[in-house]
Amino acid sequence: MSVRIRQVWDRLFTVLCSGSVGLLIAVLLLFLVPMIVKGGKAVFFRQTVEFRKMQRDLFGRGDLDSLHEAIARTGQARQEVLARIEQFGRGIDTKLLSDEAKDAYRKYGLELRYREVSREEYSRLRAAAKDIRDNFLAALDSTEEAAANRFLDQVDLHRDSPEFQATAVETFFTLSKQYRRILDEMDLAHREEYAAELDIVKTELRNLLGPLPGESTPPLPQDRFGATRWDVAKKHLHYLLYQTKWVPGDSGDGRLVKKEIRRDDPEAGLFAGTELAPLFSMMEKNLERMLEPEWTVYGRYFLDDSTSGHYFGGVGPEILGTLVLTVLSMCFAVPLGVLSAAYLVEYAGDNIAVRVIRTCINTLAGVPSIVYGLFGLAFFVLIVGRPCILSASLTLALLALPVIIRASEEAIRAVPQSYKEASMALGSGKFRTFLTVTLPAAGPGILTGLILSLSRAAGETAPILFAGAVALGPIPDLGLKFRWLFQPTRALSYGCYDITVGDRLAMRVPHNQFGMVFTLILLVLCLNIAAILIRSRMSKKLQGM
């Protein structure tokens, strides 16, 4: 091979090698950046007045006076929109109008009864009123504009007759006037379509502004408030403004393409030219005044309990559960791990027993985490009696054991032989030397291992799937005579799984889905960075700096 080619190949090799490390760093960033940016939105976001209402109602915090002021301000901004949607709804949903018509007829009957009229007069007027009512209802039912107008003409015939002046029958005339106006603007043939779209518009309005006036308070907390966050509000505003339609594409092969049409678009929009049309531009223009968004740091996210499906609130119980599980598992694993490591370093020679022990530790480290889950179910749950914190943390302890043993072994090995020799020379035995000299000297190293296995245990999901983690449950009541040991608990890792693929409701709040993962990653990262810092300080100390 010529020298030139060899040189090029050498360069290429170097580039490839550094490129793969660069790729690794890029992968890490590619993973961390979206997770942290999206998850951070659970904590840093623009809150709306609905968020403040929710915090007040569900968590009882926030200043009531300023909240009332804000509600009054936003209420004013919302007034016109809400009035408009109600008005338009009457035209589409004829049930309201027909109910009013029937009501007026009934009222007129009562009025007649209290008036001094003869029997014939009574039945004549009553029949006339009935005629008006039937005509009006027929107008409501007819699907053609001409026919509807004809019926309305019949109604209006009586408008000027003096006998109905100042009676309940006059209601019919105002109703007919209203309905005429609706007929002018609306194509009756599309009434069904209008009704369907109006339903969507109403749902989106509810999503934005909370329950519409006149509706009762919904039982589920997630329906009680409008858009609590500005990013969510903008999403719903888009749904409100645009209608998605599947239309034949330009390619001409009959494939449908998705197209978004603005609902008040003068040419294609369904609501163009109707009374509702101004609502959309109004919403677009005034949404900020209706919701009053402002930047906020929702620090209580890490402490708050959540409503069902993590729709509102934070990850407090999950963090608590994870901490309890991991700390308890460390209580089991650390003494065992450190003592095992002490045996392997200080006492064990190279015999069969030690080799078996080492093989077993390696095997333990290699056992898939789901098999730990199986074992936890088949053994610890069997012993303890039910899936609970105790069985879950025992399972995690077993998982963390090999990590701790290896780390402690390394740390103990790193203690200079001279320390031990000095202690021995002073007459203390092997075990005493270990307890009073080696262990303190190896302390930081063991601590590093402990922190790393803590972070591993905090992130493991598969072992606790069947051993005591639940997605929804009461917060363990710590303190109560160790009863909490026998309760199941929520945990961050299991919560992350559940909120992403298990919970339908949570899928509507991606910021909370990412927020939980963000919390878990943050926890693990903090633990790891702490471990890295401790280790670097230690290595400096060993170098005598």
Binding site: R6, D10, T14, C17, S18, S20, V21, L23, L24, I25, V27, L28, F31, P34, L336, L339, S340, Y343, L344, E346, Y347, A348, I357, T359, C360, T363, L364, G366, V367, P368, I370, V371, Y372, G373, L374, A378, F379, L401, P402, G429, K430, F431, S455, A458, G459, T461, A462, L465, F466, Y494, C496, Y497, T500, Q513, F514, V517, L520, I521, V524, L525
Partner: protein
């Protein structure tokens, strides 16, 4: 072991030393017994991990055996054969439940092999970079990055696969579903990389300087030295790295459960990565929560767990033998 029988130690030099250097018989015995007791205690604690491995095997087998148990040995054997060779996995079928685990094993191996195909070259090249190319400073920066990559919980990777990677794949590569073999393999390769990288780097560093210098002295470039000399010399350690990465990938649960699509089928054509597969771990994780205890389905899941245990145990023994070869060479 520390009997002080030497009387000549007792001299006036220790006049200022208040404690008598000579131990009484009782003290001596006590010291001896404490030492023995401590030794025994430590041995017992060290034996806990052995006990744990035994317990894991015993209890997983105990729950798996009823699945194969039948009227006689021949029937049990045919049951086992059916379990391992059939591809139909319909444990919840009312009339004819089927427990053929072959498609699931193939699924596990499939994502594992694909992820290794991605992870091994990258991991090996990166290991070469860290052991032979990078300066001390660069290494100091790269190490924590790799540690963090290894520390990120698998469920977080799973969420990434479902919520970020899957929509991206679906949008840009035109797959019908984003949760498929490719997605799972990509994420698994990220998870296996740190393991492969660190073990491979250790074994590359274990190859002596003299070998490298001999190669350079003969006029070889760095690329030639690494490829022709150092990597072959570190061969068994690198194989161990690959096997450890494989164990990591085959035992991983949350990522494959969330990202692989969980369809119990053998991909056909075999190279079609856009198809959904199902792995052993995902089958256990997905179904164990819902089956009543003591049913055939329940025991069949433990049988899968036992298979998994055997897989990893074997791989572990192989990697250990490779690593011990590396260690022997170091000495």
């Amino acid at each position: 072991m520390k009997k002080r029988s030497d009387h000549s130690m007792q001299t006036d030099a220790a006049a200022g030393f208040s404690r008598p250097l000579r131990l009484s018989a009782g003290q001596d015995l006590r010291g001896y017994l404490t030492g023995r007791a401590a030794r025994t205690l430590l041995f017992i604690t060290a034996f806990v991990s052995v006990a744990a491995v035994l317990l894991i095997f015993v209890f997983v087998v105990r729950e798996a055996v009823p699945f194969f148990k039948s009227t006689d040995a021949a029937a049990s054997l045919s049951r086992l054969k059916e379990f391992l060779t059939r591809t139909q996995w319909f444990p919840e079928h009312e009339a004819h439940p089927e427990y053929g685990v072959l498609a699931i094993i193939v699924g596990s191996l499939y994502v594992t092999v694909v992820s290794l195909l991605i992870a091994v070259p990258i991991g090996l090249l990166a290991a070469v970079f860290l052991s032979d190319i990078a300066s001390f400073k660069v290494r100091q920066i790269c190490k924590p990055v790799i540690e963090i990559l290894a520390a990120i919980p698998s469920v977080a990777y799973g969420v990434f696969a479902v919520m970020v990677a899957a929509p991206w794949l679906q949008k840009h590569l035109g797959f019908t579903t984003g949760t498929n073999a490719l997605n799972a393999s990509l994420i698994l390769s990220i998870m296996a990389l740190p393991t492969i990288l660190s073990v491979a780097e250790d074994s590359l560093s274990a190859v002596g300087r003299d070998i490298r210098q001999a190669s350079y002295g003969l006029g070889a470039t760095r690329a030639e030295t690494m490829i022709r000399v150092v990597i072959p010399a570190a061969g068994s350690g690198i194989l161990a790295a690959v096997i450890l990465g494989m164990m990591r990938a085959i035992g991983e649960t949350m990522v494959v459960w969330m990202a692989s699509g969980n369809a119990a089928q053998i991909p056909s054509p075999w190279w079609d990565l856009s198809q959904s597969v199902r792995t052993m771990t995902a089958t256990i994780a997905g179904e164990l929560g819902e089956v009543p205890k003591g049913t055939t389905h329940y025991h069949s899941l433990f049988a899968i767990g036992f298979l998994l245990l055997i897989f990893t145990f074997t791989l572990n023994l192989i990697s250990e033998s490779f690593l011990s070869r590396v260690k022997r060479r170091q000495r």
